[in-house]
Symmetry: C2
Subunit: 589 residues, 2 copies
């Protein structure tokens, strides 16, 4: 069977175990070769080659519904459902998603970029199946890391009680990006099979396994047995992340998860740009530096690698707490430590902080606790697409009392803000920072000091003012400089504090009737620009001319960050056009 000729999983029905095993190894080679060029989540997909083949062999997708928890483990599924030719376009604009995508295939049932949602979704599908008298199996495939996310445990508790026929396939590789955390891993690693079986029976779920996830015949037998069971079934499959690729097998932490292009033989990345570091690394370096003289604890929800905390953990193992995939707990743990007088820094991806939103409101802000958040991956998150774009956090955080919100525009500012957040002791504070490389400082004078709610005028001007923050400041400066050549005098303001606003500076702009353009790589609805509008309206500056550039009320898909910025109108051309319009508007006012 040529990989490229696969159109649907139907052909698997005709293959015997040996042929399926051969297929697994062909798929493995295909993936190693393809992803070496495009990058992608190699390790997790190598781990599920046999598992995915066996699932499609025994179940009839899409009548039987495969619901994958976090879609990045579905490359094999994509191959078996006829998408091998799309791999050169993996995670590219107009290409193929790195996750499950319902628009791509009838075999893609449920989309997820965040973990731990599959059990709830599968139970929902099973209830509707039963209500409508349809038949068919519903199968959730979930990693052991994702299983410890609270909502998965909520769902398991409900599933056992419901008695519904749902098949849960636990892909137990002992990892949740970083090695797995928490007491339950011992429960699943334990040799006492009888005990585990009994536990599941007591909560109403039939336990099968453990099964060797790289042995197709074992998997097939197990799925056959599961099909005959009329209650919820839990199939415990043990796999190895990165299976069959030496570089990952030898160094799982750095090469097992992936996603940059790499040398297929050594696993070494082929595209790393070492000339500039990224924001996450800048924050991590600042933490390392501060830790030499100050005691504080870093809490991370399974993001030691992503948040560049490997070195911090090596140097200060007692000061780094990995909660595993458990954002709710991570936030309230930080709140508890702060309430007890401890100093905490919690780096967390913007969209994963959404999981801890109530904990931010109810535990941190309401009690005004001194937790410092590092909101990573703020702004577009390129190839990861809609589930990972960190574009809602300004809207959902700035409406919360007591919260201070900053964003750096360069390495120096990022370092200062990390220090500032750790020194601040009045309540919650967050710096949000993007994916991607740090920029150089744009100002003429060095930054001396941060003051709560104090912005900085980077460039003076009288015709209009651009107020923005973060890396996009560079575009504002470039545009202002270009427009200067056309005779327009544009002020550029670095609003490093997103909340609170620099009221004195705003007052002076409004009094001088300087029209304002706000720029943000964030949703416009309720965003930073709105807070400027609010200030103007609330303080009697109704006549002020204020325009906002940012993200529309849609979900943005996959693309390079620059492609996405272009889609959102965050380009120098559009900024220039808006500035010109503002100037004309003022003239005609």
């Amino acid at each position: 069977m040529e990989i490229s000729s696969i159109e649907s999983p139907a052909f698997l029905k005709e293959l015997d175990v040996e042929q399926l095993e051969n297929l697994a190894s062909e798929i493995r080679s295909f993936l190693i070769g393809q992803l070496s060029k495009t990058g992608g989540h190699l390790g997790s997909n190598l781990g599920v080659c046999e598992l995915t083949i066996a699932l499609h062999k025994i179940y009839n997708s899409p009548e039987d519904q495969l619901i994958w928890d976090i879609g990045h483990q579905t490359y094999v599924h994509k191959i078996l459902t006829g998408r091998s030719s799309m791999f050169p376009f993996l995670r590219k604009k107009s290409g193929m998603s790195g996750f499950i995508h319902r628009g791509e295939s009838v075999h893609d049932i449920w989309e997820a970029g965040h973990s731990s949602t599959s059990l709830s979704a599968a139970l929902g599908h099973a209830i509707v199946r039963d209500n409508t008298g349809r038949s068919g199996h519903v199968i959730a495939i979930i990693g052991d890391g994702a299983l410890t996310g609270g909502m998965a445990m909520e769902a398991l508790n409900h599933l056992g009680d419901s008695g519904r026929k749902v098949t849960v396939v636990l892909n137990d590789n002992g990892m949740s990006i970083s090695p797995n955390i928490g007491a339950l891993k011992n429960f699943f690693a334990d040799d006492d099979l009888h005990f585990r079986k009994t536990f599941f029976e007591k909560i109403g779920i039939h336990y099968l396994g453990p099964v060797n996830g790289h042995c197709i015949s074992e998997l097939i037998d197990c799925f056959q047995e599961a099909k005959l069971t009329d209650s919820p079934v839990f199939i415990h499959v043990r796999t190895e992340k990165g299976k069959g690729w030496l570089p990952a097998e030898n160094d799982l932490l750095s090469k097992g998860h992936g996603v940059a292009p790499y040398d297929p033989y050594t696993g070494e990345p082929t595209t790393t740009d070492i000339t500039l570091k990224d924001y996450s690394q800048t924050v991590a370096d600042a933490l390392l530096d501060i830790a030499e003289t100050n005691f504080f604890t870093v809490i991370t929800p399974a993001m030691i690698v992503g948040s560049r905390l490997v070195e911090f953990g090596d140097r200060y193992p007692d000061r780094l707490i990995d909660t595993g995939i458990a954002e709710q707990h991570a936030v309230t743990l930080a709140a508890g430590m702060a309430n007890a007088g401890g100093k905490v820094f919690l780096p967390i991806y913007s969209t994963f902080l959404q999981r801890g939103y109530d904990q931010v409101v109810h535990d941190v802000c309401r009690q005004n606790l001194n937790v410092a958040f590092g909101i990573d991956r703020a702004g577009f998150s390129g190839a990861d697409g809609d589930s990972h774009h960190g574009v809602f956090d300004i809207a959902f955080l700035r409406s919360l009392p007591n919260m201070i919100l900053m964003m750096p525009s360069c390495e120096v500012e990022c370092n200062m803000m990390t220090r500032f957040a750790l020194e601040y002791s009045e309540g919650p504070i967050a710096l949000r920072y993007p994916r991607g490389k740090v920029d150089d400082w744009l100002g003429v004078e060095p930054i001396k000091k941060l003051e709560i709610g104090k912005w900085q005028v980077l460039k003076n001007g009288t015709d209009a003012a651009i107020i923005t923050f973060g890396p996009i400041l560079r575009k504002a400066m470039n545009t202002a400089e270009s427009l200067a050549e056309c005779g327009l005098s544009i002020m550029v303001i670095n609003a490093r504090f997103i909340k609170p606003l620099d009221e004195a500076l705003l007052e002076s702009l409004f009094k001088q009737q300087i029209p304002i353009l706000t720029l943000e790589e964030s949703v416009l609805a309720g965003g930073f620009g709105s807070s400027v509008l609010e200030y103007a309206a609330d303080h009697g500056y109704s006549g002020s001319i204020i325009r906002r550039l940012g993200l529309d009320d849609i979900f943005y898909g996959i693309g390079s960050d620059e492609e996405l910025r272009t889609a959102a109108g965050l380009t120098e051309n559009v900024i220039a056009e808006q500035c010109t319009r503002l100037v004309l508007e003022r003239e005609h006012a």
Copy 2:
């Protein structure tokens, strides 16, 4: 010991078991008598009389830190820490909180109105204790209902792994407001003690119990043993909600939770106003009505009583799913059902929806699934205070693509919106409705039909326009009528769709240069009023005069809803004043 003379729990050290038992029964009588006048969470507190006494007998608060999960089970704790005289002012403005409140007592360590946070908080306290070399016990007291909330399971998983000395006291009464849900209840109800012990040992936690939670000597022995254990300890205490009060013992569902004043002998409420029904009941009645002809499922996270779903559940047991306290799972379960083609209505309190925020973003809105939300307790939630005021949902929902957001201002509209939400099939839709009684329809003509994003002009006017929604519309109408007597012509608009806006109507207001006042019982930062400002700015109506009334950037405490509205400036006087200002501003513009 006179209850009124208790100043601190120190006196308990001198009492023997018999004296402690007498104290428990005195406290029980005190609570039954006091709460009959003020209302309050009687049942849960009767259930923890002996437990609380034993805790304060054995541990030394505040050096030993008692961290209560959901503070409404802390009335006995309040009595023992010297606050009995405050009970006449329970849950009143400037009185005593119904929850833990750090401002009230050094014995109040951690505040919580939402469930399942205590384990994370306790672990945080223990980490700081260990880091700083302090001594003292950290004890989390959590109900079995709260334990099934995902974040509590996340914390338990981490706790077992951490090996930290934290004592978890499970108050197992089989209830989470409604009878408890989920498979884990069987695990705790099971007689196989050895099995349960083994399970906890396997996840790194020492299990003690089950202990009779109404037997002080058993409790004391158990806490003594726990004090000597150096690993995490889990004490399984079995209690009866409403213990010692016949009305609750006989009818736990309706009299076991509380909170209105009642006859201390019969338990019947003494203040029920049966002349008008509330919004939750109106929604529930509409659901009952629609269910006669249409098939849909109602999902509730443990709020059968609060969401008035008892009758619905009796009549359609197969169409009502109680997930227990598991908001994340509830939202994604609804999303799963919608994805499978099912029709779902999910009533959920505004502040509890915060727990499911990521699920709303990532599962529902991003996949544009047709889930109908009923956001209950939207707006101030009076005596419950800051953790329960549903004032953030407009800000956190309106920034999400695909979401439709409505609010009814009267019974008829509430009924229509419930129907509309269930008929709508294009994606997520929510109606938010307040606590409290329904109002009559304010318009002259009957409401005929709802149209997405279509507002209604209730009263014409030319000097200014008030745009608002929900029950506060009544105040807008009253004010407009009063101002008419002073010769001001104020238009009143019912913005029943909070999102999307009625752009045609806004355009006409802007074109006529009619100044606008927006009113909302919701945070101003990023709220509805801001969306009107955004529209004006984005469509070139920079000169428009728009003012907003709503909640400032602070957490509002306890009070009657009207007291809280007064604090937020949502009164007819302030509305009138603002309208007059708008008119003057236009004259001077």
